[in-house]
Every structure is written in C-alpha cells, then in structure tokens.
C-alpha cells in the first residue's frame, strides 16, 4: 500500500510539473524558453513513465525529447522574428474559442476518467529487464509488421522533409 501511495504522490508531482511546463510553453514570451519549457514538460512525462515502471519507455522519452526540443528551439529562433521575445508581441488568435475548446476537452476527459469503472488495477508490472526483453520480442515478433512500418514511415518522412526543405537549385528552376 505504501508503494501505491508513493507512486500516486510521484505521479501527481510529475504530472503537475508536466502540465505546468505545458502552460508555460504558451505563456512565456521568450521563444527559446518556450521550447525548453516544452522539453521539461516532456521530461516530466518521461519521469511519469519511470514512476509507472515503464523504464525503457521513460528513458527513451527523456532522451528523445532532449534532442527534439533542442531542434525545436532553433526553429523557433529562425521563424519567430521576435528577438528574444522581448517585444511582448501577441502571437495568438481566436483565444476565446481555443480556451473553450481546451476547457471542454479537459472537462469531458476528466468526467470520463472519473466516472468510468476501469475495473481492478493490475498490482505488479514485470521487472524492467524482463519488460525490455519482452518488448523486444513483441517488436520483432508478433508486431514486427507494425514496427517495420513505423521505421519505414520515419525514413520516408526524413527523406520527404529534406527534399521539401532544401533550397531549389538552378536545375529545378529550369
């Protein structure tokens, strides 16, 4: 039981951090801060995974997001044309609509969560090492096709994004 309470507390802590950093993303005026806030939000999500004993996924999330959000930061600097966010410029629109949409989504989800009977909770998760091994077998066994498709998708996306993004050269113009 004490494990369960500890788990709940940690979940609340990291969950609150994740949501709070998520809010900071849209409240801060500095674009780099905004990207870094998103990073810490995602890191807190990764920490929640660790709390939920999904060790591999948690570490993976923490690792992937560090690089992803750093790239995000440089794109922010490139495309926002707002030096340091010091201008306090307003980059939002349809604020009321968005607030309503976000609010309704949140309330609805909360209602579903707390009103649904989820059935009995599983008490123990497999140990981390077994989990990782089992996940590997799952990925390269039963779900191989899905896994390979994901890999292919990411490769296609990489190639496509690069193709789209590189500057048009003389040859293309001709």
């Amino acid at each position: 039981m004490s494990v369960s309470i500890g788990q709940s507390l940690f979940l609340i802590f990291f969950g609150a951090a994740a949501v709070w950093f998520g809010v900071v993303v849209f409240r801060t005026h500095s674009m780099v801060r905004s990207a870094i806030a998103l990073l810490f939000s995602q890191t807190a999500v990764g920490a929640m995974f660790l709390v939920m004993q999904a060790e591999f996924l948690g570490v993976l999330q923490i690792m992937m997001m560090a690089s992803e959000m750093s790239v995000m930061a440089i794109f922010m600097v490139m495309f926002m044309m707002d030096p340091g966010g010091l201008g306090a410029m307003d980059m939002t629109h349809q604020k009321r609509l968005s607030l309503w949409a976000g609010g309704i989504g949140l309330t609805f989800a909360l209602a579903v969560i707390w009103l649904t009977g989820w059935g009995p909770a599983a008490q123990a998760a497999p140990a981390a090492a077994e989990q990782t091994a089992a996940l590997g077998r799952e990925l390269l066994g039963r779900s191989m096709f899905v896994f390979e498709s994901a890999g292919l998708t990411i490769l296609t996306a990489m190639v496509a994004a690069t193709m789209v993004a590189i500057a048009p050269t003389e040859e293309h113009g001709r």
């Binding site: 030096p83 340091g84 010091l86 306090a88 410029m89 629109h93």
Partner: protein
C-alpha cells in the same frame, strides 16, 4: 598594504588570503594588442608562467605589450572593464596607458621584463587581491546610454520606455556607446558594459564609437541613415555602412511610418483589417516584417547580427578590426578596418625616422628600418648598405610568428608552441646560428605539412586572386616580388617562388617555401650585417632636402615609402603597406563564407593592420 588597481571589494585575510595566493599562482593574461606583437617583441608568456586567456572574462592580468595607440587604448579600457575583479595590469614597454589605471607592474618589452613583471604581480596578488576600498574604473570609452527601440521597427528610437508608435509593441532597451549623460552609468562597476547589444565584445564598443561621435547628449535630434535605420547618431555625418548622409530622425521616422501604413494598416482599428477576414486587430504580420529583408542564398530570411571580431580577437592579428554581419552562420557582409593611422609628427628629424617607423610597425621593424634607410639614401641619390640577410631573417621569424597564430586559430596548440619557440630562436640569431637551426626548421615544416586533416581543412578555402604583391599574390601564381629588382639581393641568386591556386593552403605552403628560400639566401649572404637597433648607418651624412622613394619586400608584401625632406626634417612621408592592397580583397573574399571558414581565411592572409598617416 597595497591593493591591486583592480582589487575586489572584500575584507582581506583568513580564507581569502589563501584564495589570493591561489590567484597569484594562477595568473591568466589577456594580451593586448595581440599575441603576434608579443611574440615579435620576443615575449613568451607561457615561459614566464602566465596562462593565456581567450577572453577578458577569463583573465586576471591585462598584459600590455608595447605602446598602444589611442584607439587601441580605448578598446583596452573596455577589455579592462570586462575583466572580473581582482585584476591587474602588467605594462611592458608602455609608458602612458591612461585612461587605464596605473599598472601594477611594469617592465621592459623583453622576456626578462616579463618575468620580473610576473614575479611582481604574484606578490601584488597575494597581498592585495582583496581590499576594503576599491577604486572604481571609469573611462570615456565605457560611457554608454540606454535608449529604447522597437524590435520590429529599429528606426523607432526613444529615450524613454513605452510603446512603438507603428505597431504598438513594447520598446526594448538597448545600450549604445557614445555620449553619456551623467547618471546613466550607475550600473554596478561597469562590467555589464560588455553586453553591448549583442554581447561582450569589447572591441565592438571601441570600434563602433568611432561611428557615433561623442556629441553631448541632450534634446539634440537623432540622425539616422535612410538605408540603414539601425545606424543612429547624435550628430550629422555619413553612414558607416553605405556612406550616405544621415538624415534627422523625424524625417526617417515619417517615411517608414508612412510605408508601414500603406503596407497593411491593421493597427488603427477594425475597419482597416477587413481584407483578411477574421484577423485579429493587433495581429503582427510576419510577411511584412520579413518583406524586403535580404535573404540568404538559400532563400531563408534570417535575423542578421553584427558581430565584432577585434581588435583583440584571439584568432586574428592584434589591432585588426573586423566586423562581420552574420546571417545564420554565414557572413553576409564584412567590414575590415585597420588601426587608426599613426601620425608621424611633421618636423621629425631625418635621423630619427628609421626608429620611429620601426616602432610604428613592431611586426616588421627590421624591414621598416631598412625601408627608411633606403628612402633616405635615395633622397641623397645613393644606396643603403646591403641588408638582405637581416630582412630574410625577419621574414622567417615573421612567417613562424604567423604560423603560431594560425595554429592557435585552428586549435593546434602544440604546433603553436613549436612555431613560437622556433620564432624566438630565430628572431635575433646570427647567421651561423640560423645555419645550425636550419635543418631542424626544415624538418619541422615537413612535419607540419603532414599534419592530418590540415590539407583537407584548408584546401579551397578563401581563394583570393588579384593581390598585387606579397606571399598572398605569389600563392595565387603571381610572381610579383620586390626583391627581384632589389640591389641588396644582387648576387644572391634570387628568383621569386610562385604558384598555387591562391587558397589558404597555398598560402601556407607558399610561406613554408619562402622560409626555405630565406634560409638559402641567408646562407648565401654569409653574415647578417647587424642586429638591432639599426642597419649600418649610412656612410655619408644624411641628406637635408629632396624627394626619395624606396621599396622593400616585407614578410607581408611590398612596402613603399615616399619621402620628402626639407631642412633636415621629414616634411612628408607616404607609406603604402600590403594591408591597403589586401583589405578590400579580403572583405569580398569572406562574403557568404561560413563564419569559421571566414576567420581562417582572414587569418591566412597575415594582415598587419598598422598604418602611417599620410
């Protein structure tokens, strides 16, 4: 108990005594005007126990090597202000360094002087690193005022915070060097000074303050360039970027304001925004912000930042002012300016001219001295004594000095040390010593040629053709060499070495080949006439009046001196140095290069920014 000139305010004693002793053991020097000058003066900071700092922020000793001209002194003030306390000044061979505080240690410009100075500094640090009362440092070069500008509309400048009249954004503060009304400079201890708009760089302030004359700041109109709204000045003048006359701010403001309204006009109210349905009234159009801004060759419009590299940048020759406008990581524009020309006081006696000229050009003092002697001899119609061996020795030392600096720039610390050590050996050596050192030197050069990845790094970098003379031109295949017509080289069997495609690698190889050639020439000349302080004095008394001209091939290229004497004094002296030839080419060369490549390419030119006022 004597406190340092830049002591830190704290109660001395106790644990701080220990810290002070640690500081005394860990002296880190920022060398002004540059390591190349220090090496040419025979200094070896590492040998004296100093470590070199890349930036003033990491230094606690400001090492001044030789006298500084006024503009560099001003830049040195900013460097001094950027150094964290406790800090100290070690002045070698520099008498007057005001407005910097009095040096904590002085010495002659020599290794012994340096060693003594370091010893004095160690004691001074151990005793006076911390003091109860410290003197604050203030100098005109540090004066700065705060003005407020709109991030989107740089032409909007105000003395007070508020909103932009064009787009309604909050104005941001920025610091401008220039006239300082009293009371503005009250931020603590001036350390923040370095954060000048984009950053630290000391040199920036000194360099840029040249563009904004120090007019008293009051209600005077602000002048700006019609093409470069970021250029502002308190007094009329011309734009440092394009040379156009500056216009009063009001005029410029009205213009751009007008342009802004005809462009979209979404700011006045809801009515104007009808062309885009649903758009928010205070929406800022990015299309407009980026419209008309120059795009890089890859089509992306990026924020351009102007970054100063110099005059004390660790990777470039000391005193060289380089301002790069960066577009992402590539150079959009470069401005290269030499040191302020040093005036040669009119009425300087003829006999003093060689030494004065040599003092003005510490990197090539032998060649400059020879040049002066030859020009004086030419006025009298005679010829100066042969001095080829001394010139060649200086050429070798100068090339090695450059190699050490270039190696530092590329991060090859071992090569830097070896190059500097060889340079120190050769700088004042007799012919016999040079002959003894020659085989080792040649082996060293061969080893450098084989440095892994050096070739691939430098190949194709900074290709420059069109130089008129010097190693840079010869590395591009132009066999221009003033030595070919030089009488001093008669009988030494001199033929210019030329070849290569003019890139940084070719320059490196050219200099190596010239070192080898110079070794041969010295061997053929047999003896070196004499070392410092001068080439042999002319046998006949110096002429009193007339006009004469002489050319010497210095290590960097041909230097020509036109001399008009009257009544035993210099009436007019006009000196052309390789810098004037190379500087415009260099700014073209680095355009659209990646930053690191651009710096390497400029480093490979071996520029000496010093000039003589006409």
């Amino acid at each position: 108990m004597n406190a340092l000139s830049g002591a830190r305010q704290a109660m001395p004693g106790g644990l701080r005594g220990l810290v002070a002793r640690a500081m005394a053991a860990d002296l880190r020097a920022f060398v002004v005007p540059g390591l190349d000058i220090a090496r040419a003066g025979g200094l070896d900071p590492a040998g004296a126990g100093l470590r070199l700092a890349d930036t003033p922020r990491h230094a606690n000793v400001l090492l001044i090597a030789g006298p500084l001209p006024p503009d560099l002194l001003k830049a040195a003030c900013v460097v001094w202000a950027q150094m964290p306390r406790p800090r100290a000044i070690l002045a070698l061979g520099a008498d007057n360094i005001a407005p910097l505080p009095a040096p904590d240690a002085i010495g002659a410009l020599s290794q012994d002087g340096l060693a003594e100075g370091v010893a004095t500094l160690r004691k001074a640090f151990a005793i006076g690193a911390f003091a109860r009362n410290v003197t604050h440092f203030d100098a005109p070069a540090l004066a700065a005022r705060i003005e407020y500008t709109c991030p989107m509309h740089p032409e909007v400048i105000s003395d007070e915070p508020g909103k932009c009249p064009i787009c309604g954004m909050f104005l941001v503060e920025r610091e401008v060097s220039g006239a300082a009304p009293a009371g503005d400079g009250d931020h603590k201890d001036h350390h923040g000074q370095g954060a000048h708009e984009h950053g630290k760089s000391a040199p920036a302030q000194a360099a840029q303050s040249d563009h904004s004359p120090h007019a008293a700041h009051g209600d005077a109109a602000v002048y700006t360039c019609p093409m470069h709204p970021e250029v502002t000045s308190d007094s009329p003048g011309s734009c440092p970027k394009c040379g156009m006359d500056l216009v009063p701010q009001d005029e410029g403001d009205a213009q751009s304001g007008h342009a802004g309204h005809s462009g979209h006009g979404g700011h006045e109210g809801h009515d104007d925004a009808q062309d885009i349905p649903g758009i928010e009234p205070h929406f800022m159009s990015m299309v407009e912000l980026t419209e008309g801004k120059p795009a890089s060759p890859d089509g992306l419009i990026m924020e351009w930042i102007e970054v100063p590299f110099g005059p004390f940048f660790p990777g470039l020759p000391g005193g060289l002012g380089l301002i790069l406008t960066l577009d992402g990581d590539s150079v959009a524009e470069a401005r290269l300016h030499g040191a302020k020309p040093i005036p040669l006081p009119s009425g300087c006696p003829v006999a003093e001219l060689p030494e004065r000229l040599a003092a003005a050009f510490p990197l090539t003092h032998v060649a400059m001295r020879a040049l002066a002697h030859r020009a004086i001899a030419a006025v009298g119609g005679g010829a100066a004594a042969p001095d080829a061996a001394a010139l060649e020795r200086e050429r070798i030392a100068s090339h090695l000095n450059w190699l050490a600096g270039f190696a530092r720039q590329m991060g090859l610390v071992r090569l830097e040390r070896q190059g500097a050590a060889l340079q120190r050996v050769l700088v004042g050596a007799a012919a016999a010593d040079i002959a003894a050192a020659a085989p080792g030197l040649r082996r060293f050069l061969d080893r450098v040629r084989r440095t892994p990845l050096l070739r691939s790094k430098l190949e194709g970098l900074g290709g420059l053709t069109g130089a008129k003379g010097g190693p840079v031109a010869r590395a591009a295949g132009t066999a221009a060499d003033a030595r070919a017509k030089d009488q001093a080289y008669d009988g030494l069997d001199f033929t210019p070495i030329a070849g290569g495609n003019g890139d940084a690698l070719a320059r490196l190889m050219q200099r190596f080949a010239e070192i080898g050639q110079s070794l041969d020439l010295i061997a053929r000349a047999g003896t070196i006439a004499s070392s410092r302080p001068s080439s042999p004095p002319p046998s006949t008394p110096p002429p009193r009046a007339g006009h004469g001209m002489a050319t010497v091939e210095t290590a960097r290229g041909p230097a020509t001196l036109h001399l008009t004497l009257s009544d035993g004094t210099v009436e007019r002296a006009h000196l052309t140095t390789p810098f004037e030839d190379l500087a415009p080419l260099a700014t073209d060369m680095v355009r659209q290069m990646e930053l690191a490549d651009a710096l390497i390419s400029i480093g490979a030119l071996d520029l000496d920014p010093r000039r003589l006022a006409a």
